[in-house]
Amino acid sequence: MVETKELQVKEKQEVSSSTEHTRPGPVFTPSVDIYENDREIIMLADMPGVSTDGIGIDLKEGILTLTGDIKPWEDGKESNVLIEFGIGKYYRQFTLSEAIQQDSIEANFNDGVLKVILPKVAKAVPRKITVSNG
């Protein structure tokens, strides 16, 4: 049996950038898992509180941008008792070194986790070449 460790609180990371967003408010870096197999690169990003229509995925000149817009869910009449995490937009950019088939990028969003599937272009897929005896 695999022992599961206890989860620790991870402070949400605020984006530090030299330019400012036009709308004030905190912007956070989503935690991501990125892995690849032979055919595709798969990216999982935690964006809790974002609704599906608030998500933006953009790939331009090898830079993938993930954004998540959040609508305030508290109504104005609530007063704070204990505040441990900040609420704000999500923003993160990645440089992709491998060629990606732009037109067949797939994405889905479930339970606050964004999954982006980036298929590699055919020439980037490794091909096994068998050498036959002559």
């Binding site: 206890e6 609180v9 990125i34 690169i41 809790p48 509180g49 508290e74 204990l82």
Partner: protein, 157 residues
């Protein structure tokens, strides 16, 4: 120079704001005082964090308490929420391991594991009026206050 101002270096030197930054500090001190006040209130200042997963935001209005937590990737049925008097416990497990084989990780920042957190709400709640919802990885537990915990308007004759 700033340290001198903060240390209340003679204020009669003509600086326009000799107590620069003091306002914020005083507010924090007020909140700290309230924390250690023996009035029994569980009001915690916002820099006072428990460090237990999940991080919680608790808010209230006149009728209800709202407890919110960011739990991305956890399904509603994987959570266990219990309420007992003022005590609320949220526990579950997050699994981020991947099912696919022959993969190479570039980054692994999303963590998995078990969690359990118990909190004491500032007032009594009606156990019949506790509901929870999970939308886009955001858990909201709504707890209706018991009659005794609701603010009451007192008329002056």
């Amino acid at each position: 120079m700033i340290t001198r101002r903060m240390l209340n270096f003679p204020a009669a030197t003509g600086w326009s704001h000799p107590f620069f930054g003091m306002d914020e500090l005083r507010k924090d001190m007020d909140r700290l005082n309230r924390l250690f006040d023996s009035s029994g209130s569980s009001y915690l200042p916002h820099f006072f964090k428990a460090g237990v997963f999940p991080a919680l935001n608790i808010t209230e209005n006149e009728e209800k308490y709202f407890v919110r937590a960011e739990l991305p990737g956890i399904k509603a049925e994987e959570l266990d929420i219990q309420v007992n008097g003022r005590n609320l416990t949220i526990s579950g497990e997050r699994n981020t391991a991947c099912c696919e084989e022959n993969i190479k990780y570039h980054r692994r920042e999303r963590e998995g594991g078990k969690f359990s957190r118990g909190i004491v709400l500032p007032g009594d709640v009606d156990p019949e009026k506790v509901t929870a919802s999970m939308v886009n990885g955001l858990l909201t537990v709504t707890a209706g206050k018991s009659e005794a915990a609701k603010p009451r308007k007192i008329n002056v004759n």
